[in-house]
Subunit: 433 residues, 2 copies
């Protein structure tokens, strides 16, 4: 498949509900290569390698499922402070593949580390030996099929061969497309910020897939920065920011077998030493990281399977954030709400139903509901100003905002989802055929 | 709309995934009438009256939603030991209709009780005055639209006029069709049993609607018996049997604004006095009631919106029933599992995903999974005997059984659901138009 990447890039930006994404370019210490291991019947890039020539500190958050994939088991065993590579494959989740699946990763890690050690010897002044346990894996695809170890192993030399030390926007797009499964658009985001006087880059790519609540299918997110930050602080920063970003598009945390969001810091920028997450110099980085994660998470939701509309649900003035969250996801996960929105029907009764089933204690007489700027329910009653025609018109928009006000407290939460269309059924009843 | 009820009855039975249902006939003390209050644009029966000429003891279970409909508020206020009538309307849920919605029911109750008091005077040797608070209401339909009090009030004389003291199968079908909304088939069940030496009838009708977990739309179930049982014992019997029947097709209890399952006992059969639910003479009744409730609940699931397949999920050998239930509903509510089944794809990986996201503690190496008689996973590994072709063949069946064995304990649970098809999206994005 030959793609004119420039055309593709322009067409993606033009058609995106989420607005343009910026060009990612070179990020010191990160190298990217992509290849096809023929995991799909049609040839496409299906394996992506990120190589950190000088290593990278890192942190990950993983699925909360009780049945986790073999690659997550592998990653959880790594107790290194720095890693050297991240290898991502699509088509096969390596979940429920048993000992063979885990062994496959060991074989790949051994091969890849040998090849990369050779590359170190060729390219570096002070080459270092790369160990198998410096390699992280991300897998996504069908659960329970035999892991294609040999196919992937065969292309490792090609992946390593293709490594260049200068990146441009095209290789980022190739990487972000190489990790897609059923989602249609690459998901890319970037921010720049300062740590002290040093300019720092934060780049990210992601894949979504099925319905937007990741208990339904795999969500992957990978963040890269050239800052110098310890794995320990990265872990805290990631945990702090995941809740209102990637977990705001999820039902109840992360519950596929394979979900994974990771951050890698190459440390190529010699910013000042950071001792703890409370360091004031981290404020800018913290908020830039939040923006990158939120931007990616929204793109995942907007590109949910079959999505025709992007929906933001804001629930405010609750007693607790937990209450706000429960109502958010009760609405976001309601097939009846999502099909009504697909049908451009301002069926606010279904929103009421979803609020009720969340079992959050509320005072119906204080409840207000808005669709965009249109006030529907005020103090528990249909607003005098409400006109269904106006609301029906609003529902034709591509972005729908649902605003719930409980008028009981000061806490709030915002979640993101998409509508539920026939296309979703089509995609998911034909997935493997 | 003129319907040949005999043809209809035959065609329903012929096409039912659930097998035939038996003929309901006369049940002493119950009178039924149906009418059209023009609540729909196309004329159909949309109001159904059950009249108990000598009163009936009764018990109900209601939705657990925090936003309940006005009729449920009304019903909860009734503190009579016997009631005289049940009035059911479709098209309008009388939920989020505020004081006006409640007032509407008061007006209807006043009218209906007057008409029925007059009928008592005309027909009974010892006429009694019927009070407004001897009338129970069930409503189902769209939330938040103004309750059509006047339209329903207008047909009360017609409903009362039509009352006959002898019932036949046709009037039961008419009643069971009069309470439908988007579900296609009437749901009828019956059992006979003995209390002591007395033969007892238990008849039931139900309506489902949207997806089968009633947090998605209204489920109604009405059970009638000619036994003499106190309201207190009825309440205990209903509670005892609802969990593995109507609540086995539901996500987390009953969470629409309007869900309601009620039982009415006319006491026309002079069975021996029953002092408590532990009375041995109740054993037969108890299990017959369970059968009627389960039969109706399954019919609700089988006729879920857009359903092409009926799915039974049995999870056994768990540490607790709660664990079994969590896994049951995690599978039953998974759009990815339900779309795979719609596509006749034996995608057991999605079942694994759904088991994992339930967050129940389990030992993957003890897990077994069967589709029907086909062993797929045995002790956490793909079975040697598994052949995808055979499984793909099985998926073409109309009834699909998914069996999960945790091999950790002795508790189990069974839930019932249907597949998720394009038809579901069609129905629900066009609901109000």
């Amino acid at each position: 498949m030959v793609i004119n990447l420039n055309n593709l890039f322009n067409s993606i930006n033009k058609n995106s509900k989420m607005g343009d994404f910026q060009d990612l370019d070179h990020l010191d210490g990160v190298s990217i290569s992509t290849s096809s291991a023929n995991l799909y019947s049609k040839k496409r890039d299906d394996v992506v390698l990120f190589y950190f020539r000088n290593g990278a500190t890192f942190a990950s958050v993983y699925t909360q499922s009780k049945l986790i994939s073999e690659n997550i088991k592998w990653n959880l065993k790594i107790n290194k402070k720095k890693i050297s590579a991240l290898l991502i494959n699509t088509r096969n989740a390596n979940a429920f593949t048993g000992k063979e699946g885990f062994k496959g990763l060991k074989i790949l890690a051994e091969n890849l580390s040998l090849e990369l050690t050779q590359k170190q010897k060729n390219d570096e002044e002070k080459p270092k030996k790369i160990e198998p346990n410096e390699i992280l894996f991300a897998c996504t695809g069908t659960i329970g099929e035999i892991f294609p170890t040999e196919k992937i192993k065969k292309i490792i030399p090609d992946l390593v061969n293709k490594i260049k030390y200068n990146q441009n926007k095209y290789i980022w797009i190739k990487a972000s497309m190489g990790i897609l499964t059923t989602d249609l658009k690459p998901k890319i985001a970037m921010e720049e910020c300062y740590i002290g006087s040093k300019l720092i880059k934060i780049y990210g790519i992601a894949k979504g897939s099925g319905m937007i609540y990741p208990n339904m299918a795999t969500t992957l997110g990978f963040i890269f920065t050239d800052a110098k930050i310890s794995s320990n602080i990265l872990k805290q920063l990631l945990k702090k920011n995941i809740d209102k970003t990637f977990n705001a598009i999820s039902c109840d945390g992360d519950t596929s077998t394979n979900d994974m969001v990771s951050i890698f810091a190459t440390g190529e920028v010699e910013n000042s030493n950071l001792k703890s997450i409370k360091d004031n110099k981290l404020t800018g980085f913290d908020s830039a990281l939040f923006k990158v994660l939120l931007n990616l998470a929204k793109r995942v939701a907007a590109d949910g399977e079959g999505a025709s509309k992007f929906i933001t649900i804001k629930v405010k003035n609750c007693k607790t954030e937990e209450d706000a969250k429960k109502i958010c996801f009760s609405i976001a996960n309601s097939p009846l709400v999502k099909t009504a929105i697909a049908g451009e029907d301002p069926n606010w009764g279904r929103v009421i139903m979803a609020i009720g089933k969340s079992k959050v204690n509320l005072n119906p007489n204080k409840l207000s509901i808005k669709f965009g700027n249109i006030l529907i329910i005020e103090n528990g009653k249909l607003s005098n100003t409400y006109e269904e025609k106006e609301a029906a018109n609003y529902m034709k928009e591509e972005k729908i905002d649902i605003l719930i006000n409980l008028n009981l407290g000061k806490k709030e939460f915002t979640s993101y989802t998409m509508d539920l269309t026939k296309k979703y059924i089509e995609i998911n009843s034909d997935y493997r055929t």
